[in-house]
Symmetry: C2
Subunit: 461 residues, 2 copies
């Protein structure tokens, strides 16, 4: 039978080619031969590249797979229901895992982020390797991993150095790593670059360059953004937990609203998404974010940045909460307060300033956030794959669940650096203490003079 | 005749297909049909992609083109000679231009870098558009340019803010741009990202994603690295001129040595490169760099970083040269000095420390630098183009001349940040002055306490 099928298909191919020949013959434009041939090449390329390559056989992609114990448990249910149960069970498991990791604190979160990042990278690279099929060069895959390690070394190093430099500097060996961190990272990268150039094989030039680019784009998406996630965690767990929960909430609520009220299609890319879901999800996210922020603002555990305490000699998450997390009275606008006072309400409300910032986050996560998902689903369509992988039964790959989280993390990071985080005196002091003692003294005198000249400090006689 | 040629070629194509059919038929392995078909697809893909796409018709690529006045002047010369003269004339013109720009100072250099960067980006993007031929979506090109502008806004902004923040902060409007710089940049980027997702057209998914990746890799290569070049310029012109000249010197001398002594091929990728050229070029570059550094160390114009002077109220390149550029005595190792003193020489030498650093630069530029060139030539081979463009007669595109410069610039930047530049008291003072006055005072007292507790500053009664 396989023989029969093969012949039929070969005949099909021959037919297609013939059709092309006819077209080429009948093309009577005045252009030269070369352009004609190019045209027919475009067609066949379109078949394969323009409209997507079918990778369904190569990428372990599927949401239907369920672990054995669930499979046997649910065998009597209809398919549709079984999928639902599997999806539900694993959503619950992921949520539990998320809570456990939060309970584990910043280190546990950092390690989880790293694992998620590596898994996402692997899924993207796997797709790349299936697309370009350079099975003849198996160690080319090692090169991708080498670049992953190098860039992680660079980015994680940068953030650890920035945060814990003073502590790290106490050990001689670590001090060398800190001082020459960029140089070491760059040397490692150059090693990979040279290896890449040396690995070029004539027949595969184009594929190799494509995969090189593919690897770098994956690094850009996954590594740089997960580095920003780590930075957010260091600013205080709330900057991590609230945005992540918002994306999850938006996902779920958009689905729920879409399911019950969905009528108007939102975007061609994802035919199942509707305007009703988009708006309902967005509204829910804003409310949810506001309430969640209110709760979290009350716990120093969520609110304090992770700092090294000289006094304790260890890391600490205790602090005097910053102004963002202290209840503040906001006077309502006149037209509103006039109305409210006649009704017997107060003319001001008392909220944590962070709750107001949470509005920006929730608006971003429900307006721009979904575009991360659209991007991912466009990408999957381009390569005709259903999911990025199959590690989470009922959900697909890790990348399928985290597509929107990366963009959100970048937004949070930028938001913090633009609106929240100003250089604090403490932070600058840390930097000053890096200087040699005589330079510290020099800075002291420079600052003193400057302050005196501007009469901020009373000149001493 | 064109008709005849076309038919012949079409017949050729049919023959190739037939050959493939035979192969497919004769393949009697136990694998299924799908894999068989995939195999034959690989072959045809290899023809077009694996072995490179012939873009010779699309990319304006050529080193033979000469401007009209030269063409008429040289018309009696044999082709080979004419190429030589054109190449020589334009090498000379470029060198002159380089000198004029240096004479013009840092601002002129910055603008030139920007222009070169834009040109390189254009050349890379042009190739991408020819490869993926999405002529149906002309405004997709605009999106690439939009990303170029956005990322330049971000990177140039970052470096200007870092360097001239204090000055910029004096104007209210500019202060807003500075304070929210990252937020504005990110918003601009998100705009492009959303536009990209909205622009996705079903038939072109794969091509659009490929070009999106292509654009981002181009940004990574061109924009980020040219940002590093700007940073190097700010550190002092010497950090720009010496490395650039080293790469040029290495290019020329490797060619000269290869021409006269070249026998042993160096790398398959560039058949004309030889070990003799590589070694001779490297040796010349080390000597050249050493001498050039010696000369340049004597001029404050080359040596001083560009700073804003409060006293002058303007930019200045006057300074007390740093220790790097002050002649220093180095005692020679014992075995050498014993030998030299018996010959009547001194037992120490006096050099500028920068000259020793120049050795690292020249070694990098002659060992790793050429790999930038190999990379570029591999890339050109993958796409079967001779040059990246044709703006410089006799040389090709801008990218052809700058392929090694980008990697070198990154090296210099990393080198400075690892080995040269430490936070200076002045630099930190600038940061302190960003704080609010009361915070400046707070830092002052914190620092004072700290210095007193460590007895660096005598405690006041």
């Amino acid at each position: 039978m396989s023989e029969e099928l093969r012949r039929r298909n070969v005949e099909g191919e021959a037919e297609r080619v013939e059709h092309k020949l006819v077209r080429a013959e009948s093309n009577s434009s005045s252009e030269n031969l070369a352009s004609n041939l190019r045209d027919s090449e475009i067609d066949s390329e379109d078949d394969k590249i323009g409209k997507g390559i079918d990778l369904s056989g190569n990428i372990p992609s599927g949401t239907n797979k369920a672990p054995f114990f669930l499979e046997t448990l649910l065998q009597d249910l209809p398919d549709r229901w079984r999928n639902w149960v599997v999806r539900g069970v694993f959503s619950f498991l992921m949520l539990t895992f998320f809570l456990v990791v939060i309970y584990g604190g910043p280190l546990a979160l950092m390690i989880t982020t790293l694992i998620v990042q590596v898994k996402c990278f692997q899924e993207i690279i796997n797709i790349g390797h299936s697309v370009y099929r350079i099975h003849g060069l198996p160690w080319f895959r090692s090169l991708s991993w080498y670049f992953l390690i190098t860039s992680n070394y660079f980015f994680y190093g940068e953030s650890l150095v920035e945060k814990f430099g003073v502590v790290i500097n106490r050990t001689d060996f670590l001090r060398i790593l800190v001082t020459y961190h960029r140089f070491i990272s760059f040397s490692l990268y150059c090693g990979g670059f040279v290896l890449f150039v040396l690995s070029l094989v004539k027949k595969y030039y184009m594929k190799q360059f494509s995969l090189f680019a593919w690897t770098h784009v994956a690094l850009l998406i996954v590594v740089t953004q997960s580095y920003l996630i780590i930075q957010n965690i260091f600013e205080g767990l709330i900057w991590f937990i609230v945005p992540v929960s918002m994306i999850i909430c938006n996902d779920i609520m958009a689905y729920v609203f879409g399911f019950f009220f969905g009528k108007t299609p939102l975007i061609k890319l994802s035919p199942k998404k509707t305007w009703e879901g988009f708006i309902g999800g967005g509204f829910s996210t804003v409310v949810f974010g506001f309430m969640m922020s209110y709760v979290m603002c009350q716990y120093p555990y969520f609110v304090c940045p992770i700092e090294y305490s000289e006094a304790l000699g260890s890391m600490t998450m205790d602090c005097e909460p910053s102004i963002l997390f202290r209840s503040t009275n906001y006077k309502l606008p006149d037209f509103l307060s006039g109305f409210l006072t006649t009704l017997g309400f107060a003319d001001s409300i008392s909220v944590y300033p962070f709750m107001l910032h949470s509005l920006s986050l929730s608006v971003f996560s429900s307006v721009i956030g979904p575009f991360g998902g659209f991007f991912a689903s466009g990408f999957k369509r381009a390569f005709k794959i259903k999911d990025f992988g199959d590690v989470i039964p009922g959900h697909g790959g890790i990348m399928d669940r985290f597509d929107c989280q990366f963009l959100m993390a970048t937004f949070v990071n930028v938001y913090i650096s633009s609106f929240i985080q100003r250089d604090s005196p403490q932070k600058l002091l840390t930097q000053v203490l890096y200087l040699k003692p005589e330079q510290q003294l020099q800075l002291f005198h420079l600052l003193k003079e400057n302050l005196e000249s501007r009469q901020i400090l009373a000149p001493q006689v």
